[in-house]
Symmetry: C2
């Protein structure tokens, strides 16, 4: 790796961040517990100024490594340039809540629910799982009402938390809306929409293959390899001016244009973030809007959102469609409600029912493998579909982010977290069975 590339890497790497690349440096011994690593307990960024060893700064190998990431997941805009996803200027539409006494009663009952983690024998309570998962915020809605809502660590109701790869699901939802509305033909080849990628691997993929991540594109995310594509992509995506002598791509889109093939389009699901950014480019060219403006127009400004969201950008102002959004917990719940209620919220229809139905139906299960905690799953339009008894599907992001929609239980659950390691495989065992347990509890009439 050239020194110029390592230089830009040392500064900031929005992409690597979303993929947890930077957590490789963390201690191999047992990490601090959720309570021990609570950013308020750690004392990060308290005081004016904080003590020198409590200040969290660039680069992201510092600010986005555990336990500092437990603070940073609520403060990404303080490290990186961002674009707004505006909620507009009107009044928010508050979520519905039961009476305070009923709400308190529900909390104590849900906290006491038990479930058995995947691969474990001993049961765990719901409340224990929140700490096991380094939860920062969690909200559960049943039949449109909030039945549970708690904040931990860096979060409160006014905080915006990193969505990480849940960003992809917003990108995918916008794409699916354009497809169902007829503005975007998902059978088209990408090169017919974005001629700039004609000579690269993406040019010959269909839009649908990009949406479902079944493209054959070379992109390695082996963080131990200094020549892995993730690092080159990170250098291209850095919003900072390129160092002298830098000869790589500048920005997400320049990188995407030169991606090389690996395998065949359509053969198998390969979870590669560059598909999401390719999709963001396709969306922007098609709609004539940035993904931030489109997300504002189609979702945030019409769903009664309480807060603006924001999205990190590269050095040319292109939002990171694969991982750059930060948003409020309740606004993430509004996105979940929109999916559960097939495009309707607050009595208004924001997109055709078919959009949510297409996503809930899932993708090609025969092409999906490699996720032990999601057997029989699929991935379509940048959403994970479990194909379980409840027909659940989800947006998911590293370090434990999820918007989990259970149509059978009429439940939406959002969890923000800052788990020490990135991979959801580490977090699913104490998460997915907990979601199923609360769904069954709510279905039983609580």
């Amino acid at each position: 790796m050239s020194s110029s590339i390592s230089k830009v890497l040392s500064l900031t790497a929005g992409v690597a961040m979303s993929l947890g690349a930077v957590t490789v440096a963390q201690a191999q011994s047992a990490p601090l517990s959720a309570q021990e690593s609570d950013p308020r307990v750690m004392g990060w960024m308290q005081g004016f100024p904080p003590p020198e060893d409590k200040i969290i700064t660039q680069p992201d190998s510092v600010y986005f490594s555990f336990p500092k990431l437990r603070w940073s997941v609520c403060h990404l805009r303080e490290f990186l340039p961002t674009e707004e996803i505006s909620r507009g200027l009107g009044a928010p539409v508050p979520l519905s809540y039961p009476s305070p006494s009923e709400f308190a009663d529900l909390r104590s009952k849900i906290d006491a629910l038990t479930f058995t983690p995947l691969g474990a024998e001993a049961p765990m309570t719901w409340e224990e799982s929140l700490y096991a998962n380094y939860t920062d915020g969690i909200i559960v809605l049943h039949k449109g009402k909030v039945v549970y809502e708690r904040y931990f660590g860096c979060m409160d109701e006014g905080a915006k938390h990193a969505a990480m790869s849940m960003t992809k699901s917003v990108t995918g939802l916008l794409a699916e809306i354009l497809v169902v509305e007829g503005a975007l033909d998902d059978t088209k080849l990408v090169r017919d929409i974005i001629p700039e990628v004609a000579d690269g691997a993406f040019g010959s993929a269909t839009v649908r293959q990009v949406m479902d991540m079944v493209t054959g594109v070379r992109y390695s995310e082996n963080y131990a390899d200094p020549n892995a594509d993730i690092w080159i992509y990170s250098a291209a995506a850095s919003p900072l001016p390129k160092p002298e002598g830098y000869t790589g791509s500048n920005g997400y889109w320049e990188y995407l244009a030169q991606v090389q093939p690996e395998g065949n389009h359509g053969d198998a699901f390969h979870y590669k973030t560059i598909n999401s950014d390719m999709l963001g480019w396709i969306i922007s060219r098609t709609a004539g809007k940035s993904v931030t403006d489109l997300a504002s127009d189609r979702l945030w400004s019409r769903m009664g959102a309480e807060q603006d969201a924001y999205q990190t950008v590269d050095g040319k102002g292109v939002p990171f469609a694969g991982g750059g959004i930060s948003l409020g917990l309740r606004d993430a719940a509004r996105l979940g409600l929109l999916m559960l209620n097939k495009g309707e919220i607050n009595g208004e229809r924001l997109f055709p029912a078919e959009v949510a139905e297409n996503i809930a139906k899932g993708g090609d299960q025969s092409k999906f493998s490699g996720y032990a905690s999601i057997p029989n799953g699929s991935y379509t339009s940048q959403w994970w579909v479990f194909h379980n008894d409840h027909g659940a599907f989800a947006a998911r992001g590293v370090h434990g982010q999820t918007i989990y929609v259970d149509p059978t239980a009429e439940m939406v659950l959002v969890r923000f977290a800052s788990f020490p390691t990135a991979a959801n495989a580490d977090i699913d065992p104490t998460s997915l069975p907990a979601y199923q347990a609360v769904a069954e509890y709510l279905m039983a009439g609580h």
Copy 2:
């Protein structure tokens, strides 16, 4: 200047930006007119991607030079890390408007008002002045009602515009609130509140001297001098990681601790941004909150704001109290209303009347000189006081920003602009007489 410093300077410099340092490179010939330089006409950042020569990127010597700055003043967060000034989660309180027909009638009458620019002989219409001043947004309120509101260039009602040095007035207002409420003793020496500056020039100044910028501190803003303090301050303040070999201060506060004396405290008004950042530090230490959180708690979350604002930060997360805020036009008007109505808005009192009275009364005129367009003026608590017949006072920022409060006319006027040059001396001749003209028109019963 060492190469390491010039390196960091080439990246970003929030301070220099607020002071217009970067405009020195602009063409010496007549600049493009407001209409010609309209960012929509220029085509900046249109398309996905925009043409290569229409992309605006770092460093600030590029993005904040005319005519690109006409786009960038609405997009600072896309270049720099920022902290939010939250409006909270409730419903905004809309400003009051006359009926649409009355509003349209007022607009045409105000557009046709004439005045004679300072030093000129030929009169100019109000509407002509908006273009002469490269106005991006302007709103006028009379007796609490919006009587005029127009947007140009990069702005619309949902945009956030750089406040530049109007930021100082928010900082000063927060300080004055703390003083009047008794939390901050403005007769104290700075070193008794911030021991870290005991060995520097600020240590022996009183809080009040800092608030009124009558300190004797060495800080040159001669942009032609590569060793000027402004450049060193900019390098310290850059939110980017310091380059290898950098040995200067890291962050606003480290710089402030080592500022050297020049002249005596109390002798004269010297407009030096470092006073505002010193005040920000004093406020934060006193209130136990960042200026962003304090501005949210005391102003934005309680004034019915429509939008969050934001503030750029240094590499340690310290907000730029001397120039870092971007905010909506109507929210700036709400700040003006708070000043006009001595702390009350929407029927609620946000701070004691004495706060606004102290500011309106002004500072020591005998110490004020050097501003041809503000004869007899003064500067107190980071506000400019005109000591004119109407008792007007203002927040002011380079490139034409103002919140102008005229208590006699019961008028609040906010103008955001992106004038080609930084100094308000260039803009005042076609601004201050226009404000007086509209004030007189409104007083005459319109």
